[in-house]
């Protein structure tokens, strides 16, 4: 039976209490001993350290991840920036220190004072930024006079450096200071006021990969607030490096080709979807964003009518013009409306109701089938076919090809394009669709709008026999010490709504565009490589009745049509697909096709190792 302790047995409790008592005394003794150690034994040292708040924290920014091309060529790195700061509590007397500083830097004192004025209530041990990125001379002057300048500290921060100015600017993007909305929305953990984040392009899309983790140091400072000892360091973790899919050689060549024109050129590997080049012209120098640009410079960029800040490859929407015939042809064949034997006669015009629609070739093309209609870009053929299909069927095929919606490429602000349907017109304009409006749609004018990257995706899908691959920009991600963390994957957006036979017919047409007499791009033929493609000439303004007789050459420059060219090569086993648009370039064949041709030549020459040719020759000489 258990012997429960109740009220009487307080002796037992008293014994326990004595034990507790001893424990308590011992515990307090420990506290006293520790106190003694801190205050008496080490007291002097701590007293010294407490003066002037000698132990402080410094923040160490993490270097941002590098950006390289697919072959490891460095495109963007970081360089050290020497930022001049002042710590008000250490810099007493502040006026005198600032005056001396102004003298050594040869800068008016008012500029420096202006930076200090606001933050009076803030903890005066926090460094206040006076000038970012001071040059070597100023740095030397300040270091020499260090003892004259209490409270002046130089903080070294990594700053973004875009190695090739103006190159791949839209693709790589730029950075800017984080604003309040971004700070509060929770997408940027670990960021503070004054931090820079990617605002555009890859810098923005892969911000979380590129941004490292900031570190810090516990430092001891002297009476002037200058560091005398580093006590502990928490290393900053550098961001991860991004290898883009682009081939910089091709990118650079393409940029030269587009240099004085406005427009865009994009290239892709049809088998994988990897984007080999993305150029938008005119461009801008991303380095301007790093150190902050003047108001005038910003205004110049923003008001420039050629819109240099826009990535035309993904953001600009243009009427696809004759390039759209690829889609219409595909739709007609697949619907069984036509086959290779079906022909229409083109006398240079087509009557519809009481209107006359012209073909670009005044005298007409004569009798053509679908292959020749593509090769010679006969408008009348497609007026007929388009009318038979109807705008909604065309739209259905176009959307199935990936048009009228973003491709999903990993860049922000991609435009949707527009593929009109009867429902759309009622919603947009409140009016029903007129039969005559289908005809311009069939030749890519009218309400149609596409972006260069959308057309590229379709071109590549035709080239690889039907797989619509999402354009990929990421080749791989590596840590700072070279460990691969992620690789780009092939992502399918779908398949072309066409059988292999249909595609073969369309591809034949595209081949004939370049490689037969009468093809609209015959002048862009390459000697050793068989290229296939489609020209397009997108009217910018609708021509009024009666003005149709004005030849295009006499139009004002800003009214001239845009020039498109889609291409892939080699025709039998495509390794590259290209889309070029030259704003106001007039003719796809003369303005855009040569650019595409040169891009392809550059890329394929690189790929088909010229050394192979050389070694064959040396074998011959030895044998």
């Amino acid at each position: 039976m258990r012997k429960y302790l109740k009220t009487a047995d307080s002796d037992w409790f008293n014994q326990r209490l004595t034990g507790v008592m001893y424990c308590v005394v011992v515990a307090f003794a420990i506290l006293v001993v520790r106190l003694f150690y801190l205050q008496i034994i080490e007291g002097h040292e701590y007293r010294r350290l407490s003066e002037n708040n000698s132990i402080r924290l410094q923040s160490v920014d993490a270097p941002r991840g590098l950006i390289l091309d697919r072959n490891g060529r460095l495109l963007v790195d970081n360089r050290p920036s020497f930022d001049l700061n002042i710590i008000l509590k250490d810099a007493k007397p502040v006026d005198q220190t600032v005056a001396r500083l102004a003298e050594y830097m040869q800068v008016p004192a008012e500029d420096l004072v202006a930076k200090i004025a606001p933050g009076g209530g803030v903890s005066s041990y926090k460094p206040v930024l006076l000038k970012q990125d001071i040059g070597r001379d100023a740095l030397a002057a300040i270091e020499v006079h260090k003892f004259d300048l209490p409270g002046i500290v130089m903080l070294i921060n990594p700053r973004r450096h875009y190695i090739f100015e103006n190159s791949a600017a839209h693709l790589i993007g730029y950075m800017g200071e984080i604003n309040n909305n971004e700070l509060n929305c929770g997408d940027y953990p670990g960021c503070r006021v004054g931090d820079y984040i990617g605002k555009f392009g890859i810098e923005r899309s892969y911000e979380s990969v590129l941004r490292g983790q900031r570190g810090g140091r516990q430092v001891e400072v002297n009476v002037n607030g200058q560091v005398v000892r580093v006590l502990k360091t928490v290393r900053a973790r550098p961001g991860k490096n991004i290898f883009l899919t682009i081939d910089y050689n091709l990118q650079q060549t393409t940029e030269k080709l587009l240099k004085d024109r406005a427009g865009a050129a994009v290239a892709m590997d049809p088998k994988t979807g990897e984007v080999l080049a993305m150029v938008s012209s005119p461009s801008f120098d991303q380095n301007m964003f790093v150190s902050g640009m003047s108001h005038e410079a910003w205004q110049a960029l923003v008001t420039n009518p050629h819109r240099p800040l826009e990535n035309k490859a993904i953001q600009a929407e243009y009427p696809p013009a004759s390039t759209y015939k690829v889609v219409v042809a595909l739709a007609a064949l697949e619907e069984g409306l036509i086959d290779t034997e079906t022909t229409y006669n083109c006398p240079g015009y087509h009557r519809f109701g009481d209107r006359v629609f012209r073909c670009w070739r005044r005298g007409g093309h004569g009798t053509v089938n679908v292959v020749r209609a593509l090769a010679e870009s006969c408008d009348v053929f497609f007026y007929n076919v388009g009318h038979e299909l109807g705008v909604d069927t065309i739209a259905r095929y176009a959307r199935a090809c990936g048009l009228g919606q973003p491709t999903g490429v990993s860049l922000a602000n991609e435009a949707n394009g527009l593929i009109p349907t009867t429902t759309w017109k009622v919603q947009r304009f409140g009016e029903p669709w007129q039969g005559g409006e289908t005809l311009p749609v069939a030749i890519g004018q009218g309400y149609d709008l596409t972006t260069p990257i959308q057309m590229l995706m379709v071109t590549a899908a035709v080239a690889n026999n039907g797989f619509i691959n999402r354009p990929q920009l990421l080749k791989k991600i590596e840590t700072a010490d070279g460990q691969v963390v992620e690789r780009g994957r092939i992502l399918a957006n779908g398949r072309l709504p066409a059988s292999q036979q249909t595609l073969a017919i369309v591809k034949r047409g595209l081949w004939e565009v370049v490689n037969t007499d009468g093809g609209t791009a015959r002048w862009a033929r390459l000697a050793k490589i068989e290229m296939a493609g489609k020209t397009g000439t997108a009217q910018v303004v609708g021509r009024k009745k009666g003005e149709e007789s004005i030849p295009e050459e006499e139009m004002e420059a800003h009214l001239k049509p845009h020039a498109w060219f889609l291409a892939y090569a080699p025709a039998d086993d495509p390794a590259i697909a290209v889309t070029v648009i030259v704003e106001h370039g007039e003719h796809g064949s003369s303005a855009a096709a040569p650019i595409a041709r040169d891009m392809i030549r550059t890329y394929l020459m690189e790929k088909y190792d010229p050394r192979q040719v050389a070694s064959a020759e040396s074998d011959k000489s030895e044998g």
Partner: protein, 367 residues
Amino acid sequence: MFDRRLVQYFDWGLLGLIVLIGSIGMIALYSAVTAGNATPQQILYTKQLIWYGVGLTGMIAAFVINYKLLERWAHVIYFLCVALLVIVLIFGTFGGGSQRWLVLGPVSIQPSEIVKLAVIIVLARYYSKLATARGFTLRDLAQPLILTLIPFALIVKQPDLGTAMLLLLIAGSVTVFVKIERRSMAYIILSGLIAVPLVWFSLKAYQKRRILTFLDPDRDPLGAGYHIIQSKIAIGSGMLTGKGFLKGTQNALAFLPEQHTDFIFSVLAPEWGFAGVLFILLVLLLLIVWGLRIAHGCRDSFGTILAVGITAMLFWQVFINIGMVMGLMPVVGVPLPFISYGGSSVVTMMISVGILMGISMRRFMFE
């Protein structure tokens, strides 16, 4: 009901002690909120005074009411407090990284403070009925364990590791005081020795790192490590006689977070020096010894255990808080009784001391 002996045996000494400690607290608080800050926060000082007022009412109620009533109502009190903990998890407001306050108009209360008292009361009731000379077996401990673990888990969820740890220590102290049977104790220790390494190995790397950083603040030189260094500098800079009232806070303390709550000792030490702090420690020791003395004088086991429990709570809070600011313990938010700023803490402590007074007053009254 109202017995003349209650007044005769009223524990004036304890009251005097509380007044002394409270005054020290107000002095420290005044220093913490005025000097050293860019904008003096006088309002905190006034608020603390108000809380002392409220606490005083609670204290009076606590010693006027017979503590034996607590035994009868133990479970009700316990359930109410646990309910408050659940409510705070659902409706509570965030502050300092955890969700531990309930805001009722201008007043915010922290249920985890009151829960400590509730657990003490309910454990005291359970143990007083079942205490034996041999000690508790594991089976006996099952119910107290659950009673303790429920609020423990709820507090951990907030997350408030300091108070959770404190709760375990208080419950553990009371249990050990009432004696755990030797064999059961051996089992407990043994299973602890086995479980800890097992749990350790099953943790992921980042969890291990977090625990190590928690235990050793130096591993976090930019966060907790920095605060402890500043705290040690502040305390050490006091040397023997201190810098004087209001003169300690200029420098290091501008960088101590929570200098009016968890780190208030680091405000006292540089101003009063070793001599002054030694005095304060002695006063706190005296408070604890007083509590034990009351336990000693109590005639019934419920009262004894209750007194021990309350004393344990006072002891552990003092030990952990002061140990922490001196760099002996991991950084946890445990308020220093009567000195740290905090309404819920002040009121809970006052009520607890009131209970002690009540036990002391009735030491010559038998059932």
